[in-house]
Structures are given as C-alpha cells and as structure tokens.
Amino acid sequence: MLQETDTRRWQIEKKLSGDFVFKGLTVVFAFTILAILLLMVEEMHRESLPALAKFGWRFVTGREWDAVQSSFGALPFIWGSVISSVLALFLATPLSVGTALFITEIAPQRFGGVVSALVELLAAIPSVIYGLWGVLVMAPWLQQSVEPFLSERLGFIPVFQGTPYGVSMLAAVFILMIMVVPIITAITREVLLTVPQSQKEAAVALGATRWEMIRMTVLPYGRSGILGAVILGLGRAIGETMAVTMVIGNTPQISLSLLSPAYTMPSVIANEFAEASSKLHSSALMEIGLILLVVTLIINILARLLLWGVSRQRGRTP
C-alpha cells in the first residue's frame, strides 16, 4: 500500500510539468540578457577596430579631435565625463544623505513620506527637460551672477579662472548634481530603513542625542550601502547624455577651469554619430562608446559588491 503511493508520487514528478516549462523559459530569458550584453560588447569592439588599429593607446591619451584631419584622441571626453560626474557626486552626496536622514530620522513619518515622494518624482523628469531648464534658466544665471562672482573673487584659483560663458563644466556639474540626488537619496533611504531599531535604542539609552545616535549607529551601519548608492549615482551621471550635452558647451578641450566649456563621452557620440562620414570617424565614436560601457560596467559591479557587503553585514547582526 505504502509502496504504491510512493511510486505514484514519483511518476508525477517525471511528467513534463508547468514547473519545468517555467524553469526553461526563465533560463532562456536570463541568458538572452547576457547574450545581448556580450553581443553588444563584441559588436562595438568589432566596429571600433579601425580606430583601435590606427591609434592604439594614443586614442586614450590623445587630446586632438579633428574629423577633417582624421585625427582622433578621446582624452578631452574622458576628462569631461570623469570630472563632471565626480564633482557632481561630490556635491550631491552630502545633499542626498542629509535628505535621506531627514526623511528617515528627523521628519514626522507622514511629512517624511511626502518629501520622499517628491524627491523620487525628480527622477521621473525626462532629462531633456533638465537640459532645457539648464540652458534657458540656469546657464544665463550662472553667466550673469555666479561665474562673474567666482572669477572676480576666487579667480586666483585656476579652477575659477576665465571668461564666464554660462554653458560650462560648472553648469554640467550642477545639472548632474540635481539629476543624481533623487537616486542617491532613494537608495540611501532604503539603506537607512534597514538599521535595526534595537541599534538606535542602544545609542539613545546611553544618552545619545539624535545626531549622536545617527553618528554612532545609523551611519556606520549604512556606510557601505550609502557608498553603493553613491556609485550607482556615479554610473547614472557618467552616462547622462541629453541634459549634459545641452549645457556643457561641447568643446573638446581640457581646461582646469570650471567656467570653460567642456565635452563628455556620451555628448560627443550623440552630437556626431549622424555626421560621421568617414569609417574612421564612426569607428572612433564606437571606441568612445566602448570605453564608456566598460567604465559604466566597472562602476556598477563595484556598487553591487558594496551593496552585497551590506546585506552580509546585516545577516551577521543579531
């Protein structure tokens, strides 16, 4: 009797069940994504072969970008992308962490929810609108008030030297800052919500003020998660195309001054792909795309690793 039931159960498992089909489908989907990524890298690599062959490492170190002379060096774009993103992150991080702390620790629950929703709404605004606002409102304001002030008062520092153009590295930094704040704030908020109440109570019971409690428990507990959020923000900033293109001035030069125009990797691709007539030109753009992709991938992997570190640390605490 018992044996009979056992056999029957075993037979059910052998049949082609919905479970099996479902499993197969998910595997196919998952590997499709992977295949798309690999194909894209391969394709970009193949397309950029002419530039790779002609310039080699000089492509990365070259400062000249001249389509007429067919001389291509990507350094100004790498410089522009890295500097604008890093500076934007530098400004956005304290702003975002402060906002997230306000939402989770300081504000009354309902008000915090409203602030949080509004901040996340910022992420939903299309980047072209940021760009439009940047070029029509912010850039003139920078040109007329902020930049003249900086170059007059702080002009002795090379960073603030030069003619105020409005459209400039500074404008790109500000636009990117506004655009990454919602992402960093949202993720930081999630991270801060994972800080156990018992930790906060421990600090408060020792006679910590609210700020001391945050410093003793919330920030150390969320440290690597916040770092992960910042790096995801960096990924977003470095890939941002439209808004930056509209405000950065699109001049392939390496200038220490924040007041001068610059250029970024995504911007040059967006601006020139249509008019790239020669094979070498389009292949140079492809290679810039490849560099951008690799940089972005590395940043995202770093962020994943850090966030993974947080969840492991969380598992370790009682």
Partner: protein, 252 residues
C-alpha cells in the same frame, strides 16, 4: 529605604490603546525590583517610560509623573538626554554596535560626555569589563569585533557599556530571555553585585528569576499594577487572588 524612582499615576497611551493605566509605584534605592506579569500586561511599557524611550515612538503619549530623586523627569525643562545618562538600559536582545570593537563598544556611551583622555578610557573599559566579569575572557582581544562574542558575552558587554556611563539606575528589559541557562546564571550573579551601587529595575518573564534576583516584586496585569511587595511575600503569601493565580501558574 530611600525611593530612587517614583511613578505617580502613570498612564501610557499608544494611539487609542491605553497600555499602562494609572500606575503608582516606588522603586527603592540600591535594590532590585522585578516587574512580572503575563505578555501584554504593560511591564516593558512601564520600564521604557522610566528613561523616556517612548519619546522615540510616534503616537506614544505619557502622562502622570516619574520622579528621579524627587525631580519629575517629564517636566518641561528636563532634557531627556540627560535623564538617559542617569538611567541606563539593557535590552532583551544583546545589541552591541556591530561596526565597533569590544573596546569601542564599552567606551561608546562614555565618549558622549565629551573628549576623554586615552588613559581614562583604558581605565573605564577595564573597570567596566571587570565589573561584568568579562575582562578575563576578552582582555587579549579588545580590538576584536563585538559580534564575535557569544550571546551571553554580548549581553554582559552591553551591561558594561551601560555602567561605563556611570548611571544611577539600570533598567533591564528581559535581559536573559535570549540567553542559555549558564549565561543567564552569570547575568543573575552580576545583578546581585550591581545592586550595591545601582538601583535596578528588571522586567522578566521568568518567575523563578524574579524570585532569585529581586528584593521587591511588582505584578502587572492588563496595564494595571495589581500588587507590589517584598519578593518573599509576593511568592509565598500574595494578597491578591490574581497574583496567586499567576505565580502558581494557573494562567499567563
């Protein structure tokens, strides 16, 4: 005996819930008072009112008064932070700071009082750990992460962290409920020693524990104080029927 802490018609509400109803109760100095009662009787809520932990809970409302050495800690001009430095608390689950070493955990509260000299810090750490009988177990690895300790060691570390601040009263919220019997025994021995210097108020689920460690026992039921008296009296000749039913295990 002196009354260190005095609750006077204390009420605690959480939104519409009336969790603690008009409790008046005195806690004698340098002794151990146990608060017992079935789950949900408001015993932890009373305890957490004594160091104003309900300030952190949205929707919690405390009325009545709690006097510490005759001063109402709920008066408008009283800083809750200053109160919590005088009234320490040990929680149900050991909650050392996971990002800190053993050493830093012990000194964490003490540091809040301002800049301290290196020598002072060493001395505070050593004396606090010795008081909780943890020094010999950890003196060679003070820089190790606090999470490497066992549950019982972590709880003693949390007590060391609490007494490093030099409080006058120590609140303990079921401090042994997450520990094994041997670790529990160590904590109970420690409570016995600590009462020489501190006033201890302990909430416990375990009636044997209350009988073993406390001098005075208060029995709570449904948010009200049913009976309070010397521990031997409560456990042998309680005045109220409910108390007797509870300690003889007829309910709860």
């Amino acid at each position: 005996m002196n009354h260190k802490v005095l609750l006077y018609s204390l009420n605690v509400h959480f939104g519409a819930t009336h969790a603690v109803k008009g409790v008046t109760l005195a806690f004698p100095e340098n002794s151990v008072t146990a608060i017992i009662g079935p789950s949900g009787c408001g015993k932890s809520t009373v305890l957490r009112a004594i160091n104003r932990m309900h300030d952190l809970t949205p929707g919690a409302r405390v009325s009545g008064s709690i006097a510490l050495d005759g001063t109402n800690i709920y008066a408008n001009n009283v800083d809750p932070v200053a109160i919590r430095r005088r009234i320490g608390m040990v929680f149900q689950k050991p909650n050392p700071f996971p990002a800190m070493s053993i050493y830093d955990n012990v000194i964490s509260g003490y540091k809040l009082n301002g800049r301290i000299r290196r020598d002072d810090a060493d001395e505070v750490v050593e004396s606090s750990l010795k008081r909780v009988a943890l020094w010999d177990e950890v003196k060679d690895r003070l820089r190790a992460n606090a999470m490497e300790l066992s549950g019982g060691q972590q709880q003693r570390l949390c007590i060391a962290r609490t007494i490093a601040v030099k409080p006058e009263v120590i609140l303990m919220d079921e401090p042994c409920s997450a520990l094994d019997p041997i670790a529990t025994m160590k904590i109970e021995e420690l409570i016995e020693e600590l009462k020489e210097k501190y006033t201890i108020i302990i909430v416990t689920h375990n009636m044997q524990q209350a009988a073993r460690v406390s001098d005075v026992t208060a029995f709570f039921y449904l948010g009200e104080l049913v009976e309070c008296g010397d521990t031997p009296m409560i456990f042998t000749k309680p005045e109220k029927r409910q108390t007797e039913d509870y300690i003889t295990g007829r309910f709860g």
